[in-house]
């Protein structure tokens, strides 16, 4: 049997290997840049270098995501003794120019447009989770180790008890990044104190079933830095006494799945996973499980049913997974981004992490910027930053001379935040007060051309299509709420439709079984709160004024049930 990996040795070998190159060219090979042609860019770079005699001077790396997706494909060139350059919109032709001018001729910068590091999109970021994204090759364990990876796990195994690891996470103030914001350490303690049946393992699960429209934080974390997620999951398992882990990833993320599986294989070879992790008594095994395209499987009980091979339906809680979870054993489910924070907290100490953010919401949050913005892509910001800074400084404002109308956070469970609240800080409590929620981190910006009832209709259509059908209010209620919204948007709505829509929203929110149904009305509530005039303007005018023809009873004049509580 081979010895476990020697982290320091691998790091020095890796540094030495890199020092032999004059340039390191990192071609973003994450999902967005690949779909914009990054594979061709890398091939062009490599063939041009092959054709010259300088190919041994340049290390070409398929890297993770540097974040500014709307300007991709992105190529970062690190040249010894110089600030790195991040080239934007690199096509095959630009790749040849970079190869010729920067890498072969050794000019300081090729004549290809590049992004200044002072751009607020980058300058305002604080990177904890994304600290390696775009800087390493996600497929090479050695790259991750050379960037400081697996040190936290190795230190914890040697010098910390599981309880100390939990205390450290507790002191950091980390809260769940899946959206609800439950204190992570509290969940860990529950699993730590839970006892499995004899000869049965306790389980930890990384929830990578990200499904909100416009959200791709977890995808990027997984396909840009898969070992970070693995290390976080391993630390969670060590702290809680779990010996089996699952990475649950939706099937729509083939690249993340491929890279996670490769990461697991190389971690096993290096004894970072297995019966004796890094030579210690800690045994931990991990498997990837692929979802089958159901949004509801992001809900933890449905997710576990899916892993067990059953229909992905949510179940009643309690019992909570930490009491009775996967195959009836105690189980803990953490979001991918939550776990990706763990190596930094355990490795660098809770204090450094807790120094970022606000007292109630510590640390950073990754957001996927989408919609009407100059700059769309992935950012990591300290909690408490204002929406205005995100939208106008980092996002670069609204393009095409249009004006800002609303920012949607929290996906189909969230809400729309209008202009007047742009200065409120982004943290769990404030977003909830505004009728939205942190959610997993999707942030869609809408300009003045967008109709808010249509936005509500879009999200309701999503919930209708994704409802699992187990409980009646969500299964039928989302269909009916969509019908009312559709009628209103088509200009066919009457005042009573709006009344029925609101009353039905209250019932579906109050009576649905799981979070999908309970939060499905949120986009309607928040657009009604902030943009009710738009709904009223769409209602049929004659229905507001015209008397009913003789002999016909106007349904609006009929008594209805009392007001809702």
């Amino acid at each position: 049997m081979a010895d476990p990996i020697d982290l320091d040795h691998v790091t020095s070998l890796e540094r030495e290997a890199q020092s032999r190159y004059a340039h390191r060219a990192l071609v973003c090979s994450s999902t967005a840049c690949l779909s914009a042609g990054a594979a061709g860019v890398r091939a062009a770079l490599e063939s041009d270098l092959e054709a010259s005699d300088r190919s041994s001077d340049v290390q070409v790396v398929a890297s993770g995501c540097p974040g500014l997706c709307s300007r991709g494909p992105l190529v970062r060139v690190e040249t010894r003794g110089l600030e790195p350059t991040l080239y934007e919109h690199v096509d095959d032709e630009a790749a040849s120019t970079i190869a010729q001018q920067h890498l072969i001729e050794g000019r300081e910068r090729a004549e290809v447009s590049s992004i200044e590091p002072s751009l607020p999109f980058y300058a305002k970021q604080v990177k904890v989770v994304l600290r390696n994204a775009g800087l390493i090759d996600p497929d090479r364990l050695e790259d991750y180790v050379a960037a400081g990876g697996y040190r936290a796990l190795s230190n914890a195994l040697r010098t910390m008890t599981p309880e100390q690891v939990i205390d450290e996470v507790d002191a950091s103030g980390l809260r769940g990044r899946g959206g609800a914001g439950y204190p992570t350490a509290r969940k860990w303690r529950l699993l730590h104190d839970a006892v499995a049946a004899p000869d049965q393992p306790k389980y930890v699960i990384a929830n990578g079933d990200e499904g909100d429209p416009g959200a791709y934080m977890d995808r990027t974390i997984m396909d840009s830095d898969p070992h970070l997620v693995l290390e976080g999951l391993s630390l969670a398992a060590y702290a809680t006494g779990a010996s089996k882990g699952y990475l649950y990833v939706r099937a729509e993320y083939p690249l993340a799945i491929e890279r996670l599986e490769r990461a697991i294989r190389s971690a096993k070879r290096a004894k970072l996973l297995g019966r004796s992790v890094l030579g210690s008594d800690f045994a931990f095994d991990v498997e990837v499980r692929v979802g089958a395209g159901a949004f509801v499987c992001g809900e933890e009980t449905a997710l576990m049913a899916s892993i067990e091979g059953r229909r992905g339906l949510p179940e009643l809680r309690p019992p909570y997974p930490t009491e009775r979870g996967l195959w009836n054993q105690p189980t803990m489910i953490n979001n991918v981004e939550t776990l990706a924070n763990i190596p930094a907290i355990v490795g660098d100490g809770a204090a450094a992490f807790a120094a970022i953010g606000t007292p109630e919401s510590r640390g950073t949050k990754v957001f996927a910027l989408a919609g009407s913005l100059e700059n769309t892509g992935l950012i990591e910001v300290p909690m408490g930053i204002s929406l205005r800074e995100i939208v106008f400084d980092m996002g670069g404002g609204i393009p095409d001379g249009r004006t800002f109308k609303a920012a949607q956070t929290g996906g189909p469970s969230g809400g729309c935040i209008p202009e007047q609240f742009l200065d409120s800080p982004v943290d769990y409590e404030h977003l909830q007060q505004l009728g939205s929620m942190m959610g997993s981190g999707g942030l869609v910006v809408m300009d003045d051309s967008v109709s808010m009832p249509e936005v509500a209709r879009f999200y309701m259509e999503f919930c209708r299509d994704e409802s699992c059908g187990k409980c009646a209010p969500c299964r039928v209620g989302t269909v009916k709420m969509f019908d009312f919204l559709d009628r209103i948007c088509r200009g066919d709505g009457r005042p009573r439709d709006l009344w029925h829509l609101e009353s039905l929203c209250k019932t579906v929110r109050a009576t649905s079984l799981c979070g999908l149904g309970q939060s499905a009305p949120n986009p309607v509530f928040s657009t009604l709160d902030h943009f009710r005039d738009e709904y009223l303007a769409l209602l049929r005018e004659e229905s507001l004024a015209a008397p009913a023809p003789a002999g016909v009873v106007d349904a609006d004049s009929l008594p209805t049930w009392g007001d809702d509580a």
Partner: protein
Amino acid sequence: MSLTPPRPGGPRPNVPVILDGEEVLAFDGETILDLARRLGSPIPTLCYLDGLSVHGGCRLCVVEVNGDNRLPLACATPVSSEMDIRTDTSSLRDHRRRVIELLFAEGNHICASCVSSGACELQDLAAENDVDHIHYALEFPRIDVDATHPKYVLDRERCVLCTRCVRVCDEVEGAHVWDIAQRGSQSTLVAELGKPWGDATSCTWCGKCVLVCPTGALSFKGRSTGEMRHDPDVIAFLARLRDEGEWIDREEPAP
């Protein structure tokens, strides 16, 4: 569950709770639903059935409990000491009425032409909860009736997806013929992963699913409107026998 009533001499109720304003004693571990039923306070249910696992899908038995900002299910929530439970507030009544209306809007629940009219829990729920009008557009689903089984009929247009049949077949009969396929509004009851019921070889013809179905979705063959068979010709036959003296015993023993 309440299938086993408290035995005389067994444990006495000793958990103090407030049920609709009255201080009462509950058994340890008793659900809110069992308590309310034992004390004669009706909470509407549809998917719940004594003897089967708890499904929690119809959401009709939601109640209000002080200190809980959600609405717990009476069928799935055990009482705890000092719980203040309200089972019949105006907002609960509104929620229940709307959910019942949604169920009516989802299927084709035309009582006048239904085999189960008068023996239908959905019909009863509507009457008991003052549902006299459906405020939501009816879906009018068009799904073929599965009459392939020799003894029973499945009419999916009347199914409320309560899964009582699924659970009784799995948990009591042990056959697991039934399950739900598809999701959301496309959810549909299927036999043996989608076969016609008559081809489902795992069906034991026990009929438990028909017995527990709260609506007319599952029924015994031959009982529905239109299946009545008259036979007036038999009278002519009988009259002929009478005229020909067929009832006279010809084998009369000789005197």
